[in-house]
Symmetry: D2
Subunit: 160 residues, 4 copies
Amino acid sequence: MAYQVAVCGPQHCTEQDRANAVRIGQLLAERGAVVICGGGAGVMAAAAAGARSRDGLVVGVRPAGNRDGASPDLSVTLVTNMGEARNAIIVWSADAVIVVGGSWGTLSELALARRRGEVPVVCLGGWRVLDQRGDPVPGIDHVDTPDAAVDLALRHPAPP
Amino acid sequence: MAYQVAVCGPQHCTEQDRANAVRIGQLLAERGAVVICGGGAGVMAAAAAGARSRDGLVVGVRPAGNRDGASPDLSVTLVTNMGEARNAIIVWSADAVIVVGGSWGTLSELALARRRGEVPVVCLGGWRVLDQRGDPVPGIDHVDTPDAAVDLALRHPAPP
Amino acid sequence: MAYQVAVCGPQHCTEQDRANAVRIGQLLAERGAVVICGGGAGVMAAAAAGARSRDGLVVGVRPAGNRDGASPDLSVTLVTNMGEARNAIIVWSADAVIVVGGSWGTLSELALARRRGEVPVVCLGGWRVLDQRGDPVPGIDHVDTPDAAVDLALRHPAPP
Amino acid sequence: MAYQVAVCGPQHCTEQDRANAVRIGQLLAERGAVVICGGGAGVMAAAAAGARSRDGLVVGVRPAGNRDGASPDLSVTLVTNMGEARNAIIVWSADAVIVVGGSWGTLSELALARRRGEVPVVCLGGWRVLDQRGDPVPGIDHVDTPDAAVDLALRHPAPP
């Protein structure tokens, strides 16, 4: 069974986020991991394009009731028809979660991933979460490069 | 974008259902369609095994919160953690739905597929639905062979 | 904790279905049960109106992402934004399920309720389900009157 | 149609969070609002108890497939069987969202509420969200008392 890695990020993202997501998609595909993402624009499309450029498998988990707006680089398009609640499916399906950039939808994925626990959550350029005292809430691995993100995401052995 | 076909059926199925599902999986893969199924035992596992034997792509949409019980022949395993409500995702993601055999869960998939409309719903050996007067409710294509099921499922052109 | 009864049926229903649903809503409210329904038109609106006319509590579990189309007789409107997958929530939340009339959406609720098991599923004027041999699939209590439907639905003691 | 306010917070909360949630539940009920919450322990149970002590209507939207662990103060218990994805239903059903305290699950509710937009999101004692530059991401109303939280939540007119 293949290792499955979620790549999460804003549909409206920076050029840096986009370049990072392409590279992460490439690295994951090169290392044999399936990419799971929201299947839309921005970071999602960039990760899909990166993975496809290396013949990787990419699954898009769409929020709408049809495939409108789905990235052309998806191998499979799941139509959940459940809006942003599909974010939970993305992170539950993942052996590791990589977050690129920040948005409210992206933060919900990060939070749901940490709420689930169990799997590494790696963040490249995203928002920061502080507790009531102003200290960073532990549990997120912040990294500076796509390579570091993928290394951390794949540090655990694949499930049996 | 690949044509996606849902194959639905009981986890506890007859030998005939199982053989039919294997053959349907093979035919779909040979014709380039992605197979979407529940990813569990019985008809689901048989369709997945058939598709994989022809190097097809198979997605399992699991009801539980982890991958326990997932067929080993899946290319990708989606963890929905939403029980049988995942049946809606299976049929919404499909360009055509093939039902093999009968069970309450399978009937919910058939009913959700018809409720959605838009796509062909083909039934091989499944239950029958009658209206209050005892007449068959229209909208289901009943067929007798796996080949006829796949022909009907793929009769429409792929989405753009 | 109150007994919760789902009342399921088509948004486009017959006058007989509508009258039956109003009466069922009244009877359930008189006997202290919370009514859970889809919160839309037809049988759903009729059950809600019946319950409200007896000062009962009615919850509408809506498929859309907002409250458009919600019956004015609901005490609470849940916005699931998950389309017909919300049918699963309706039947999972119920101590008993009453089906009035037939449609594909309604059949999905009946099937999901039976797939779950555990609770009585009572049918007044709905569709019939036959197995491959043409025999009725067991597990549905077909009744002829609203009173009989409510009696069967409430035959079990309330959960602790 | 009643105004519906979501009260979100950790199941493992501080005594201050608990007291705040009780008071918020009381104030919402006194002002005629329906309380929607996760229906479990901690902040959820406290908000439910507060609302019930003022004869308010409280809906618990449970993550599990049954009613185990539901607060005894709920008027209605919705069984979603979809884990933390039910957080989306809680915030979509609300005319305003009040967050009390911090946890990953709570943060996912806050993020989903802001992702939806449209409604006020008021935070009492919760976590803080900073963007990449270290600035607070706008869109959350931070308050210091239960009264201020409820005032802000109810500042908008009820929907028609």
